[in-house]
């Protein structure tokens, strides 16, 4: 949780100074959800996320340096700099990616679950998404199919009662995504997404149900992201009062205090963890900064998995310039 938090704070600074471009969606306040949910999974399970993907990748164990390098858009990044913060992917850790379009990853997750189920593997697939996705049709389409086909799918909803920047209740006829899921035959559970212990316990229960009963389960995790403002992830309600109120609920601070109170952690240990994490992140920043930018010549790499005789890309930036092509020796008749 410390790593996810500190990474986000540092990334936010680097976004401010221009070293990280594009959109940077921070997960400050969602650390308990992200860590609790992924800790409920086994190594063989799959996970897919929203655009808030670097938090998920870190929680899944992706190397901090490769994660930072992706945010820097460098070849050392998880996606070779092609995806950025919203699209981190680490198939080796069975993290199939951040998806930049609202709710787009839910059917993909269902497809992964279908493959596991079809091939008799006891894997579970988890999709983490925000409640704002609940108003899109793709979700209900997917719930129907996942329930009909008994797919081992766990959907963890960051229930914030917000859709992008609007109060979600004002936009949705029904109150919660959980109620919609129930209507489509998906079992639902709820947890306190600000509490890592509760989140892990409830998600583990959901994973167990999905794995043994072969059915989709939705976990509604109540969260409140930090009301930060600033260009990295603007949130209009970031007033001082709101921020002060949020700080009393800060999942990292609350959990840290709780560990000290019950005697599982000394205050000095907490500081040591923070120092270790800071060192790790500075190392990642330094390594990412030294990674090369992608070669422009690599633009067309992976245009196809297999070689083909035909033209896959037809624009003038391809390997052949207009007017410079030698007459093709091959006759058309074949």
């Amino acid at each position: 949780m410390e790593l996810v938090r500190r990474f986000d704070e540092r990334a936010g600074e680097l976004h401010g100074s221009g070293q990280i471009g594009g959109f940077l969606h921070l997960a400050i306040g969602e650390e308990a959800l992200v860590v609790g949910a992924t800790r409920a999974l086994e190594d063989r399970d799959w996970v897919l996320s929203t655009w808030r993907s670097h938090a998920l990748a870190l929680a899944r164990g992706t190397d901090c340096g490769r994660t930072m390098a992706e945010l820097f858009g460098r070849v050392g990044g998880t996606n070779g700099g092609r995806g950025g913060a919203m699209h981190l992917t680490d198939p080796q850790r069975r993290f199939l990616g951040g998806f930049g379009l609202v709710g787009a990853h839910l059917p993909v997750a269902a497809g992964v679950a279908l493959a596991s189920s079809h091939q008799g593997r006891a894997e579970v697939t988890m999709a983490v998404l925000g409640d704002g996705a609940g108003c899109g049709g793709t979700l209900t389409e997917t719930f129907d199919l996942a329930a009909m086909w008994h797919l081992p799918l766990v959907v963890v909803v960051a229930h914030e009662r917000r859709g992008h920047t609007s109060e979600q209740d004002a936009a949705a006829a029904q109150q919660t995504l959980a109620r919609k899921a129930e209507g489509h035959g998906v079992k639902t559970l709820a947890c306190d997404g600000m509490d890592v212990v509760d989140t892990q316990a409830v998600c583990a229960q959901a994973v167990q149900i999905a794995r043994t009963e072969r059915r989709p389960v939705l976990v509604q995790a109540s969260v409140q992201r930090a009301p930060t403002s600033g260009m990295a992830d603007p949130k209009p309600s970031g007033t001082k009062e709101v921020l002060a109120a949020w700080k009393t609920r800060d999942p990292l601070a609350v959990f840290g205090e709780r560990l000290v109170e019950v005697g599982l952690l000394e205050r000095a240990d907490r500081t040591r963890i923070q120092m270790t994490v800071n060192a790790l992140i500075e190392q990642a920043v330094s390594w990412a900064g030294r990674c090369a930018h992608p070669d422009p010549e690599s633009l067309y790499a992976h245009a196809s998995a297999q070689p083909t005789d035909g033209w896959l890309a037809v624009d003038a930036r391809g390997t052949t310039s207009p007017g410079e092509r030698a007459p093709h020796p091959r006759e058309v008749a074949r």
């Binding site: 799959w46 996606n79 070779g80 092609r82 995806g83 699209h87 992917t89 198939p91 199939l96 990616g97 998806f99 930049g100 379009l101 787009a104 990853h105 839910l106 059917p107 993909v108 997750a109 269902a110 497809g111 992964v112 679950a113 279908l114 493959a115 596991s116 079809h118 091939q119 697939t125 049709g137 793709t138 389409e141 997917t142 129907d144 199919l145 086909w149 790499a301 992976h302 245009a303 196809s304 998995a305 297999q306 083909t308 005789d309 035909g310 033209w311 896959l312 890309a313 037809v314 003038a316 207009p322 007017g323 092509r325 007459p327 093709h328 091959r330 006759e331 058309v332 008749a333 074949r334």
Partner: protein, 342 residues
């Protein structure tokens, strides 16, 4: 190699059966593919022979179905998703773009999506404006998607089989009006037609007619008409796949005939024919003796009325007229007529 005469529909079904037999990882998903046997009867009998685990009926929920196909393909299956019409496929265009086409690129090749989308286009059944579309250009725009437009039974079988065996996502666009067309189809279970090679359907000297999808057959009819009525020798190329595109083959033909007419049933603006016309003038300008002409469907919806329906469609006579214009033997019908639409 032995062949059997069969319809385009039966050829597609034979490809599905052979690939289902060959590879356990292949499964078929789509609206009405199971109990009903497919809206165009292509998947008839598959449910009985392969069971509901491999032949899966879905609701009309194209975005979810394409997303599910993509996810299943990423982790080891070879799904074939049938989208009942190209019109319905438009509902899934974001999934096709983001979860299917771009995924291999965006993950620097770490994730492959060997998904096949089978879909159907056409406008010949007098179904009115919501069921009469040729939309290959919509998917042709998207880098990362391969697009096959087979016009013969042999190609319908061989290209679908090649698509299933490919590690790349492929959209195979069948054609409503071709399902009953009969042709010789190789019996070999490994008969594959690789994408990226145009086929010469008819050799000729004076002008090249390049057909896309069903329009390749229209082009052959036009070539017959040109020979019979005007003594013109037209070469007919069937593009067969739009991405990869056999630009080398097209340019080679243009070098022989020095004139090109591209024929498509789809709308003219930003269409496949426009794209090919632009490429040919970039790559073979000095070999051209006339502007590249396009013959496209009208820049208007296809109506239900027989009269409006016929007015919107491409026929052999329009193609022949364009070929004569390319030979400076008549006025060209403008593909995008600026005087229309007022």
């Amino acid at each position: 190699m032995t062949t059997t005469a069969m319809t385009y529909r039966d050829a597609v079904r034979a490809a599905l059966r052979e690939e289902l037999d060959r590879d356990e990882r292949v499964l078929v998903l789509g609206e009405d593919v199971g109990v009903f046997g497919g809206a165009f009867r292509v998947t008839e009998g598959l449910l009985a022979d392969y069971g509901e685990q491999r032949i899966r009926d879905t609701p009309s929920a194209e975005r979810a179905v394409v997303g599910i196909g993509a996810g299943a393909a990423m982790v080891g299956l070879r799904p074939i998703v049938e989208l009942m019409t190209m019109t319905a496929a438009m509902r899934a265009i974001d999934q096709l773009m983001v979860s299917v086409a771009q995924m291999p690129w965006a993950t620097d090749g770490a994730v492959r999506v060997p998904l096949v989308i089978r879909t159907v286009q056409g406008a010949g059944l007098q179904l009115g404006p919501t069921h009469a579309h040729h939309l290959e250009s919509m998917v042709l725009q998207i880098p990362g998607l391969q697009v096959a437009v087979p016009s013969t039974p042999a190609d319908a079988k061989g290209m679908l089989k090649a698509a299933v065996r490919s590690d790349d996502p492929v959209v195979v666009i069948e054609h409503q009006e071709l399902y009953d067309v009969t042709g010789e189809v190789p019996d070999d279970v490994d008969h594959l037609v690789p994408l990226g090679a145009a086929a010469v359907r008819r050799e000729g000297r004076d002008v090249t007619l390049l057909g896309i999808s069903r329009a390749a057959r229209t082009a052959v009819q036009a070539a017959d008409l040109l020979e019979r009525e005007h003594g013109v020798s037209a070469e007919v190329l069937d593009v067969r796949s739009l991405r990869p595109l056999d630009l080398d083959g097209i340019v080679a033909s243009v070098r022989r005939t020095n004139r090109l007419v591209v024929v498509e049933d789809g709308w003219p603006q930003a269409g496949a024919a426009s794209s090919i016309a632009a490429l040919v003038q970039e790559h073979a300008f000095d070999d051209l003796d006339a502007p590249v002409l396009r013959v496209s469907g009208a820049d208007a919806p296809v109506g239900y009325s027989r009269v409006l329906h016929a007015a919107a469609r491409v026929d052999a006579r329009a193609v022949a007229q364009a070929a004569l214009a390319a030979l400076y033997r008549g006025a060209a019908p403008l593909a995008v007529d600026p005087r229309r639409g007022r």
